[in-house]
Amino acid sequence: MNIVILGCGRVGSTFARLMYHDSHTVTVVDIQSESFRRLGIRFKGNRIIGNGIDEDVLKRAGVENADVFFAATQGDNRNIMAAQIAQHIFKVPKVIARIYDPIRADRYRQLGIITLCTTTIASGLLRDYVTTNEWGLAKDYSQEYLEQNV
């Protein structure tokens, strides 16, 4: 598969290494070249320096032929905007965005973006471990959050 990853933080770089190790074609985009250090020396995928909400940068990263686009920068809104560009302009079949805010994660999920809300996932897993001494399955705890809080 062709995979384009936006944001070379801990999650972006780890996912990139995993997919590269499984012999997929991986391109990582980050605004800072230092971030690419997290990829390690064994990663031989593509590295693109640039702003992930710039269509020209995404084009350079090969998003037109991507099967998967994953936005994992530090900014929820940046991830949301980049994901929508990938979805609506470049018609990438599988678009995933990491979103910390559970509400935004829910609303944009309804717009067809696969949203990964690490806030609800991590706190849900933790709750299950603390109360039952067992790690639950890494299912998405977002629905539970919404029922309790909104």
């Binding site: 909400i53 710039d54 269509e55 900014g75 929820d76 809104n77 940046r78 949301i80 905007m81 980049a82 929508q84 560009i85 609506h88 302009i89 805010d101 509400i103 935004r104 609303r107 309804q110 717009l111």
Partner: protein
């Protein structure tokens, strides 16, 4: 009308002031606490500290009864999400976004934003109007400043656009010596036609410069 402005930079601040003066009900939402305090000192309770992208704070700010929401921050991604959340959560009738990168205007319309304003594009258009009107740029002075080499760019509104050089009513002591077109220098003849974005290089007696300017303006 109840108008909510998100982002208390220069644009948000002046917009809030003007809309208040026009007797609209206005709320200016600013995320940064330090900036909020400065704004609140002058604008009072018109300003609220909060994140305009977050649904709970949008609720508190009264997005539910807003007639318009204006996203005026310096980040296009924040502006996009402010407007989209306002639509999805509160069905705000009119969302207006400032667009910092003019290329995003089309995208924002596609993603459901009602109106966009690109200050970059407005300023560019204003400058182009000035420059496109035949502004002459002096390149060099010869003979102790008596004769000048000038450059004139042909803009969309130039009166000499698509005219042959022999049709121009050039003043005496003015000579078109070259035309730069697509980065190539052309040695012109009377039949050479002036095209959009051409740079005309001319020699002119300094006293005749205003007349030459008039031909191209």
């Amino acid at each position: 009308m109840y108008i909510i402005i998100v982002g208390g930079g220069n644009i948000g601040y002046f917009l809030a002031k003007q809309l208040c003066a026009a007797r609209h009900e206005v709320l200016l939402l600013e995320k940064d606490r330090a900036r909020y305090r400065i704004l609140a000192e002058e604008l009072g309770e018109v300003v609220m500290q909060g994140d305009g992208c977050q649904a709970d704070q949008q609720l508190e700010a009264g997005f539910g009864r807003a007639d318009s929401v204006v996203a005026a921050t310096g980040s296009d991604d924040d502006n996009l999400v402010v407007c989209q959340m306002a639509k999805m959560e509160f069905n705000v009738p009119r969302t207006i976004s400032r667009v910092n990168d003019p290329r995003n205007e089309k995208l924002f319309h596609k993603l459901g934003i009602d109106a966009t304003v690109s200050s970059t594009k407005i300023i560019y258009n204003l400058i182009e109007q000035e420059v496109g009107g035949g502004e002459m740029i002096p390149l060099a002075a010869l003979n102790r400043g008596n004769i000048e080499i000038v450059e004139i760019e042909i803009g969309t509104k130039s009166p000499v656009l698509n005219k042959e050089i022999r049709e121009l009513n050039l003043p005496e002591e003015a000579l078109i010596i070259s035309i730069i077109r697509d980065d190539h220098a052309v040695l012109p003849s009377g039949e050479t036609m002036l095209m959009l974005h051409d740079s005309v290089i001319a020699l002119v007696n300094a006293d005749r410069e205003p007349e030459l300017r008039n031909v191209f303006a």
